[in-house]
């Protein structure tokens, strides 16, 4: 019984960390731009495909026996490429809706998500079928309570590390201060010689790259990736960010852990839970928003007239 509980705890933590990486991007971009980047999930899920393609190219040039190096390099290439992709998408599409009503960028990014998914489907060989994704780490660590799969250890550690790094950059470096300044008041920031365009580009790069790490872990944890995984990943990441309170990075993490907890509990303890998993997750989202309309940690804005 303790073993099962322990395994569930590990599952929860792993899933929660992966979701956090996806949710952070939503929250960060909303905080800076007041825009819901609905294709963020799809952008993040481009990463596993770039990684898979890079593995093949790198393995051919480096030799198959350097598999760890190949996997690591491939993931790095994927993360950087997806960060660049985020910036490019902003430049091409999202930036055109900076001053438009909030619904316009929302619909535009939904359409962008469709385009991204279809591009993967067509450009990647046999893109319609699921592709096996290698585990980023194999084996397991044994503890007195039971074995922890290495992949969980790696994803939790890297996620925590990334979050700490992100918080450090945001709160302790000049670049982070500029970003926070722009998110508080774009015009005032401009008066202090902060170029919002540069800040937006950086925000898109960071959000997309962090999302890419989440996408790679998600594919690796599931062992498989398909072109349309981005929809669900995006919806869960968005929900986690909103439940926590948009623009609050800590909130996004708590929201992710909450959603992962519901998923794990339902899958483990409710009969036929795997099929009803999403029902419970999104019912929870509704309940949270009924009682906390601005999310768990969102500031309850009083509007001034």
């Amino acid at each position: 019984m303790h073993d099962v509980l322990f395994q569930q705890l590990i599952n929860w933590l792993t899933l929660g960390c992966i979701y956090s990486l996806l949710a952070l991007g939503f929250s960060l971009l909303f905080g800076v731009l007041q825009v819901i980047h609905f294709s963020h999930g799809d952008v993040a899920l481009v990463a596993p495909f770039v990684a898979l393609a890079s593995i093949q190219i790198l393995a051919a040039s480096l030799g198959a026996n350097a598999s760890w190096l190949v996997l690591g390099l491939a993931c790095l290439v994927a993360i950087l490429a997806v960060g660049g992709l985020g910036v490019a998408l902003d430049k091409l599409v999202i930036s055109r809706f900076r001053d438009a009503p909030a619904m316009m960028p929302l619909v535009a990014t939904v359409a962008l998500g469709i385009v991204l998914r279809e591009l993967i489907r067509h450009l990647y060989p046999e893109g319609s079928s699921p592709h096996a994704f290698p585990a980023v780490a194999e084996g397991s660590v044994s503890t007195p309570f039971g074995a922890i799969p290495m992949i969980s250890v790696v994803s939790v550690l890297i996620s925590v590390g990334l979050v700490l790094l992100l918080l450090y950059v945001l709160h302790r470096t000049p670049a982070g201060m500029r970003l926070r300044a722009v998110s508080q008041d774009r015009e005032a920031a401009r008066l202090f010689a902060i170029a919002p365009g540069v800040v937006f580009r950086r925000a898109f790069f960071v959000a997309s790259a962090v999302g890419a790490v989440g996408g790679i872990f998600l594919a690796s944890y599931a062992g498989v990736v398909r072109f349309d995984f981005g929809i669900q990943a995006g919806l869960i990441g968005f929900s986690a960010a909103v439940v926590g309170g948009l623009g609050r990075l800590g909130g996004a993490i708590v929201g992710s852990l909450l959603i992962a907890a519901i998923e794990t509990i339902v899958q483990g303890y409710v009969p036929n839970g795997t099929s009803y998993r999403l029902v419970f997750v999104f019912a929870l989202v509704i309940v949270v928003l009924v009682f906390r309309p601005s999310g768990l940690f969102g500031a309850n804005r009083m509007e001034k007239v």
Partner: protein, 395 residues
């Protein structure tokens, strides 16, 4: 940002203007019908792309020359009743001109169903600026309610239409009430969550047939005429799709009529007021919560209608017809067509339903193309194909 200019309706118009109005309305209505006709019957993708390019060029041209746009709007305002009569006549005669092409007819019916859905969503998104990603769910609730009633209790299509709309409305209230506390993105998420919960329940519950859905929904009958039979008139015959075409046209008519009536009523005014400034509306004594919930109910009611029609038309429904992406498609139609503009919303719905189907020549690439077209339209014409008009208080 370009400003919308208010063009007052001049009471004394020069007679040459009247003739010009007459010609503009006649030319544009028949031109649009002709374009639709060519588009529907086009076999080659070159024609389809050519028409699309023509349409895009016309839009860019109108975007560059606002005075032409105002002239056209002016003409339609003066000759409103004529435009309505001509439009109705064209809608009634149109299927007979399709040379018995059942596929073109099918596209028209699906297009009309989506037009009803888009008009339903327009009450919320266009009139009151409430994001609602659950229209697809209300559509599904309507379809399943009428289908279950027909299969298990033999309830007829006509009664099912009403009952399903009632059921969908009840769920609309159920969704409207909890989402009232939230706003903007948070409200969007509540509706998204509702849509996913409904879809997942349809997918997993026993009595909705799970992922396989419901099959064998009987064809409706009217005065002994089964909808499986062709329509015979003066020796001419229209394929059986014609029956559903006329029902779908009637539904679009009902939707347009309710849109006009509501727009000109206190409720429509209240919706517009809370769209422009919620706090100001509240300060003027408008019960914001009440009117928002009403918007959800109206949306669900019309979506329930559309769902029933869809279920009986294809006689087979599955949860896949009512996913989150369906809601997103409906929302795209409203925004690309022009928020709070009835005509724009209908054009958006027809265009975005038929476009992917007519692009079958590109087989797999059509969804990609569709996504690109939506983004381009949003960039070319940021306020929609037919932008929202300033309220005209002079009549």
């Amino acid at each position: 940002m370009e400003k919308v200019q208010v063009t007052p309706v001049r009471s004394e118009r020069v007679s040459s203007h009247v003739v010009a109005d007459f010609l503009i309305v006649l030319l544009l209505t028949f031109g649009a019908a002709l374009m639709l006709w060519v588009f529907l019957l086009a076999e080659s993708w070159v024609t389809v792309l050519g028409l699309l390019a023509l349409f895009a060029v016309a839009l860019v041209w109108v975007q560059r020359h606002p005075q032409i746009e105002h002239r056209i709007i002016d003409a339609f305002r003066v000759k409103r009743s004529m435009a309505v009569v001509v439009g109705t006549l064209i809608a009634l005669v149109f299927p007979w001109l399709l040379q018995g092409d059942t596929y073109a007819m099918h596209l028209l019916i699906i297009g009309n169903i989506y037009a009803v859905l888009a008009l339903a969503l327009n009450f919320q998104l266009g009139s009151a600026n409430i994001p609602n990603f659950a229209t697809g769910a209300s559509y599904g609730i309507g379809a399943y309610a009428s289908a279950l009633l027909a299969i298990h209790f033999g309830v007829s299509f006509w009664l099912g239409l009403l009952v399903a709309a009632m059921v969908a409305t009840t769920f609309g209230y159920l969704l409207g009430l909890p989402s009232m506390r939230t706003r903007d993105s948070y409200q969007a998420l509540v509706t998204i969550a509702f849509g996913i919960v409904v879809h997942q329940l349809l997918m997993n519950l026993e009595w909705t047939g799970g992922a396989n859905g419901l099959v064998g929904i009987p064809a409706p009958t009217l005065f002994g005429h089964s909808f499986n039979d062709p329509i015979e008139l003066f020796g001419y015959s229209l394929p059986s799709q014609g029956n559903f075409y006329y029902v779908s046209i009637a539904l679009v008519g009902i939707a347009i009529l309710s849109a006009k009536r509501l727009h000109n009523s206190r409720i429509g005014l209240a919706w517009n007021a809370l769209r422009d400034d919620e706090i100001a509306a509240r300060a003027c004594g408008i019960n914001v919560t009440w009117y928002k919930v009403q918007a959800f109910a109206v949306d669900a009611f019309l979506a329930g209608f559309a769902g029933t029609l869809y279920a009986f038309y294809v006689s087979f429904i599955s949860p896949d017809n009512f996913t989150f992406l369906v809601s997103v498609t409906i929302m795209t139609m409203v925004i690309a067509g022009g928020m709070d503009n009835t005509l724009g919303v209908i054009v958006g719905a027809l265009l975005l339903t038929m476009l992917p189907e007519k692009l079958r020549a590109f087989s797999d690439y059509r969804i990609l193309f569709y996504g690109v077209v939506v983004i381009l339209f949003l960039i070319i014409r940021p306020r929609g194909i037919f932008p929202q008009q300033v309220r005209n208080h002079e009549h």
